[in-house]
Symmetry: C2
Subunit: 458 residues, 2 copies
């Protein structure tokens, strides 16, 4: 391989932090309809930055939030690398649990606290800064395209059509995504699989109006009690999902994968302690890592009904609802699973109530070739940053667009993650270690160098 | 009995409506800490009205909302009647379901729509207007005391101490309360029992922070799923509450009561249709009326946890909660039941979660002598209004202070209800039929006459 000089000394860490902070101050919550203006401002921020780096850059309107596309194609004969990221973030609720405001980035104990600091503004921007770092040394060693969307946290409803319409423009030899977590501190990792998702809302209707629990309690159907029964019946006492056909067609984990994961430095006790729990309940017969990476599951993500205010209101509500998501593994099809739960839940409604399912979004599970030349290039780049080989893992979460990339662009996808689970993505006080951000910038620069090296053949 | 002239012609219905509307416009929500000013204004409205009728009237501050007390004792040798009511109302949520705003009373199809129209401003004010009607004919036939509180909907935390401190002033031969529903249209009824209540909040804790359902789903405890399990386990498949000891010591219904209620004109189908449900689930082995009036039950009154906003947030919440109330019958002690559920719920918490119970309020169940002379007087008064005898029922709801009246004032309590269940008390679009309001005024006036008649002995 071509060895290239250490870029660490050339990295302006102060400037890298300041620019990321400016990006994090923009409250780009894609799920919040009142923030469309902030979404557009965030897209423009990224377009302007990439344009300033000599990229041909534009924002493109969609039915939802805009997409940022930029390209710099000055490496004839070299591979083309498409870097995907998203500039939208999760809602900040519950706001009162944030130590410092979610959109006022603050460094405490070596960590950048802000919504989006790691998921995915921090990791996306590390690639932007990685490119800038390489440009400070000369031309880029590969052709680079950036595709930054604003709807990842709401299921990327408009990205797949965009990719279909712009398949030629987006054509690449490999797609790089940094939107997850490394296996652990000091441990670089390459992710070769993602779980998919089926996300639905369950609505339960009881009486046609709210009722006085004194006048009606004992005879009126209670939709909250009914919803609790339905939720309870969706899993059995072995932690298995009870939806008929749910497990059909799953690619079972191989012995090699189970062994590889069993060899990873993982401690259930430490994992449980990291989230402050005394146990890690789940599907019987599988280890924690197997349950997180290789097995499907079902969780209620939100629930509501009746009186939630101060004091005590003696009411039997007319309706109740819950948001329920199922994580899926290769072999499961989100549309099929959504159909299965949509047919099953109404049959669980207790006497006097009706239950309906309303799909919110789905994402396909994904598994990728462990031994591609791109994985080897990524391993070399990570070795230069961390001084050790990467471990090969899967991620419990999904990135809705990955399967579409695979189908429409026919390019392999390479996951090089920079953050850690302890970054608390999707939670109050989300953070990104300053050092992980800077290592991410170096990883990006080295990765583009390694992908441009002769021995990374097609 | 002394027959007295028909007062119907003397009732100024227009004025009666206008005054009630003014009272209903005051948003006296006792559970809402932002409305303490409105509570004081409502108390003053009633004090001023009763003062204007020649009563010695005052409002008295409490640790919570003020109490209105007024008395007119100009009938030496005649019984003293204490009329209890409450001027506070339930919270108006969910506001969006009101056809017209809850605090802008509106007459549609012969019904007064407003929060508190029937519970209990309308029924309380019918007594005020009943007294005014009698005064338009001369002096009151009995000594009358009004006790109007502002905390009934939050469990009357300050009324019992007030009654204890003012037991001499409040002394009466009989206490009259109109705060419930008649058995049915055209059917006058006298209520001789009330259910009690134990109202608690259940909190479930999972991880120490919200988690990404992708990164943690399959291993992290989910407090919403756990709460659903706990709620489901609080009742068995026969509709019986599973809390150990819950049914101990209950006064079982007598054959006479079960027969009396079986003879009432009741249709399960019509009752179910009136609330828009296809079934009336409840404790096996009891009729609907028995379950509503004579059996305890458990209902979830509110539930919350995780993401309730727009779109889909892939989060596993750190905590979830629910408001749960149990309706109690004679023989059950609210404090004991609250202790039982507080001890039981933590044992139901699934692996990796913890559950705690936080008492909100309690109220004692109550049963009253069917054959008192006061019931006979009330029956005569009702006969003069409705042209038929009253039926004797119990109420599924409770009035927290009733047991205290019985204990501290040692006076029998007489329930003469004016509203109907279809008034939708505690619900959006609460209403009170204009005709029921006017009949209530006449009932109040005739009742005071009958209670003053010689043959109503002590």
């Amino acid at each position: 391989m071509t060895q290239t000089p250490d870029l660490s000394a050339a990295l302006n860490r102060e400037q890298a932090n300041e620019e990321l902070f400016a990006l994090l101050r923009l409250p780009s919550v894609s799920a919040d309809p009142t923030r469309t203006g902030d979404m557009a401002a965030t897209a423009e921020f990224l377009r302007a930055k990439l344009g300033g780096l000599g990229f041909t850059a534009r924002t493109e309107a969609t039915a939802g939030h805009p997409i940022v596309y930029a390209e710099r194609l000055n490496a004839p004969g070299k591979p083309t690398v498409l870097i995907y990221g998203h500039y939208d973030v999760q809602p900040e609720a519950p706001l009162e649990e944030w130590v410092t405001p979610p959109f006022e980035p603050t460094i405490r104990d070596g960590r950048i606290y802000a919504r989006g600091s790691t998921d995915d503004k921090g990791q996306s921007y590390a690639h932007v800064m990685g490119v800038e770092l390489l440009l400070s040394q000369g031309e880029l060693p590969v052709n680079v395209k950036f595709l930054l969307e604003g709807e990842e946290e709401i299921g990327s409803p408009n990205l797949e059509p965009y990719v279909r319409d712009h398949a030629d423009e987006l054509k690449a030899d490999v797609i790089v995504i940094s939107d997850g977590s490394r296996f652990g501190p000091e441990i670089p990792s390459i992710t070769y699989g993602l779980r998919g998702i089926s996300y639905v809302e369950i609505h339960v209707q009881g009486a046609s109006r709210d009722l006085h629990s004194g006048s009606y309690g004992g005879a009126a159907p209670n939709p909250i009690n009914a919803l609790a029964q339905i939720i309870t019946r969706l899993k059995d006492d072995q932690g298995r999902v009870t939806i008929p056909g749910f497990y059909d067609g799953i690619d079972e984990l191989t012995d090699a994968e189970r062994q590889m994961w069993a060899d990873l430095p993982h401690s259930d006790a430490a994992f449980a302690a990291s989230i402050g729990v005394s146990a890690l309940p789940g599907e019987a017969g599988y280890t924690t890592l197997e349950r997180l990476w290789g097995r499907p599951t079902l969780d209620v993500n939100g629930i509501w009904g009746g009186y939630q205010g101060e004091g005590s209101k003696t009411v039997i509500a007319a309706k109740a609802g819950a948001k329920v998501s199922m994580r899926l593994v290769p072999g499961q099809d989100p549309e099929r699973v959504t159909r299965l739960i949509t047919e099953y839940v109404p049959t669980l409604a207790p006497e006097g109530t009706t239950a309906t399912v309303h799909p919110l979004h789905g994402g396909r599970p994904f598994k990728f070739d462990l031994n591609s030349p791109y994985n080897h290039a990524a391993n070399r780049a990570l070795h230069r940053v961390y001084g050790r080989d990467a471990v090969f893992t899967r991620a419990g979460g999904g990135i809705p667009i990955v399967a579409a990339f695979n189908d429409l662009l026919r390019a392999p996808v390479l996951f090089v993650d920079m953050g850690l689970n302890e970054d608390a993505l999707h939670s109050p006080n989300e953070s990104f270690a300053v050092n992980d951000y800077h290592n991410g910038i170096l990883t990006s620069a080295y990765l583009l160098q390694e992908l441009g090296a002769p021995n990374t053949g097609e």
